[in-house]
């Protein structure tokens, strides 16, 4: 025998009348904190402070302390000269692939699998994602995320989503791969499509953030502004043109909790484990592929063919073809490679934005495919349009501002 929903609620009421007694509810410090962080008047300043704090810790720990303070010295001062001298076959193609430029004096420019590859993976990206995931786990376990969702709900409604879209969006700042799966908490196909497309195009992953704040610390703010603006601009358009519904939701805000060190460390271990298993091999492999394409002359040929488009439409040098190919494997690698190309500050900003909104990395691509090929095709169509329109628009903005 099964009941209708009404009969079931009736039965539940009877049961709970018999077994549950409510005594006086005490207002605790936890509840007070909970309200302060969710009411707009106090919640929005607190949210800005939290996000600012997040970013400061991220950039000072990963960039200043680990990468500049330790790994740059280790790699450029000791490892690079050592491997340049002991690796056999200087001048040969094997040496070029694994060590790169024998005259390079830093690991960004050498571009060998064992020099730039290892340096980017271990020296730049590892500290970045370590600190990102540590802080992320803290925010998650304390229970701050749903409060952020409540605060940002109104803005997300403008792009056909609701507050909970903050969960995949912030996860994507770590890595786009789990973020694609996390879009399942959204209710309708329309919402999931908008979310997946936006995050694949506009949200840079932790690895990319780490490398960006290492190689273009002075312009990362502008790059992020372009990405955030694009996220909402194209979200707004997608919401208008995608058929389907965007329902309201009631957000369940759980109580604050003291984070458990055990849980945090386990999460960190799992996520870093994933980085070593998937990301590191891709960085090294990507480095090798790009070097092979250089050696075989493919990249020079592509650069010649595509220069009119790259320079004419986007205003960036033809050499950016190499990084754009690498971007398909790993975005962090691509940004590292860009830093070795000579160009103006504005061209650099445009090309970093291009690398970000350009095709999602292979791992994200596979995840999107798993969620359905029709969605993937749709996302790709949006992506190609966005690259040309938005990339071109940025070039136009520079031209109008009179900078090159």
């Amino acid at each position: 025998m099964t009941l209708t929903a009404d009969e079931r609620w009736d039965l539940i009421e009877k049961i709970s009348n018999k077994v549950v007694t409510f005594s006086k509810f005490k207002h605790t410090l936890k509840d007070a904190l909970g309200e302060l962080t969710v009411k707009p008047l106090t919640g929005i300043p607190i949210a800005i402070a939290v996000l600012y704090g997040f970013w400061s810790v991220f950039s000072s720990f990963a960039g200043t302390l680990c990468t500049d303070g330790f790994f740059v010295k280790l790699f450029d001062g000791h490892f690079l000269p050592w491997i340049q001298s002991v690796f056999p076959g200087k001048g040969g193609w094997f040496y070029y692939i694994f060590v790169g430029d024998p005259a390079a004096d830093n690991c960004f420019e050498a571009f060998g699998v064992l020099t730039s590859g290892l340096f980017v993976a271990i020296g730049v990206v590892l500290p970045a994602i370590f600190i990102f995931y540590l802080m992320m786990a803290l925010l998650e376990d304390v229970g701050y995320m749903p409060r952020l969702a409540v605060l940002i709900d109104t803005i997300f409604h403008k792009i056909g989503l609701h507050g909970y879209a903050i969960v995949p969006s912030i996860l994507a700042l770590g890595c786009n791969v789990p973020a694609v799966t996390a879009t399942r908490i959204l209710e309708t196909k329309k919402q999931r499509f908008i979310m997946m497309t936006l995050l694949a195009i506009f949200i840079p992953c932790g690895a990319q953030l780490g490398i960006m704040q290492e190689v273009i610390p002075e312009s990362i703010g502008i790059v992020l502004l372009y990405l955030i603006f694009g996220y909402f601009l194209f979200g707004f358009i997608l919401n208008k043109i995608t058929p389907g519904k965007s329902p309201e939701i009631l957000i369940d805000v759980p109580p604050y909790q003291k984070p458990l060190w055990n849980n945090i460390s386990r999460k960190l271990r799992m996520r870093l484990g994933g980085f070593f298993k998937i990301a590191v091999p891709f960085v090294l492999f990507g480095c090798a592929i790009v070097n092979i394409l250089y050696l075989s002359g493919t990249i020079d040929w592509l650069a010649r063919v595509l220069t009119p488009l790259l320079t004419g439409w986007f205003g960036v040098p033809g050499e950016t073809v190499g990084p754009l190919i690498a971007a398909f494997l790993r975005k962090d690698l691509a940004v590292a490679q860009l830093s070795a190309i000579e160009m103006s500050k504005y061209q650099m900003i445009t090309s970093v934005v291009l690398v970000s909104i350009y095709f999602p990395c292979v791992a994200t691509f596979v995840m999107l495919l798993k969620e359905g090929w029709k969605n993937l095709l749709g996302s790709l169509a949006v992506l190609v349009t966005v690259i040309f329109l938005y990339g071109g628009l940025i070039n136009v903005i520079w031209k109008l501002l009179g900078v090159q």
């Binding site: 009877k14 049961i15 509810f25 998650e140 995320m145």
Partner: protein
């Protein structure tokens, strides 16, 4: 191998439960919707081994989003499974809604009243013995993050049997 589904509303601690029962590693967070796909793990019981499945959180068996669809599909595919229904002791009504739906479909259920400490903080008292006799299934208060009540959950697995909702309705009328 006997299958156990771990089901419940979003953000009631199913993943913490799962990690404790199986020693596996699934991500736990303090917001609804962390588990959107299912994960399998194994548990050694006293006399037999169990396969345990961490099912995404759902409010009812009429799915509203993709994660809930996964949950309902899991339940329908595993006709002979036992369900450990994890509910938030401080919001018992909405948990019972799902528990009743599962019971009505004929699955044997163990009911875990998780976040017992939160309910105590909020001064909510639940008469476990009464609830047990009304539902006629094992009911265990638990605190997943500290591990309280887990032994009892495991021990009561063999006591779970399917019950008719009609008996529950009769019982709730009789009991004082």
């Amino acid at each position: 191998m006997k299958k156990i589904l771990l089901m419940g509303n979003p953000n009631v601690g199913k993943s913490v439960f799962f990690n404790r029962l199986t020693g596996a590693n699934v991500i736990e967070s303090n917001y609804p919707g962390t588990t959107v796909d299912y994960t399998k793990g194994y548990m050694k019981g006293n006399s037999e081994d169990f396969e345990i499945i961490d099912v995404p959180g759902t409010f009812s068996l009429e799915p509203k989003d993709k994660a809930e669809e996964v949950a309902v599909k899991m339940l329908e595919e595993k006709k002979d499974a036992l369900v450990i229904c994890v509910i938030d002791a401080s919001k018992i009504e909405r948990g019972l809604y799902l528990a009743l739906e599962i019971i009505e479909r004929g699955y044997p259920v163990v009911l875990a009243l998780n976040m017992w400490d939160v309910a105590e903080d909020k001064n909510i008292q639940i008469d476990i013995e009464k609830l047990k006799s009304i539902l006629n299934i094992p009911v265990v208060p638990t605190i997943a993050i500290s591990g309280k009540g887990f032994k009892e959950v495991v021990l009561s697995i063999k006591k779970a049997a399917s019950v008719g909702v009609k008996e529950i309705m009769e019982k709730v009328g009789e009991i004082k």
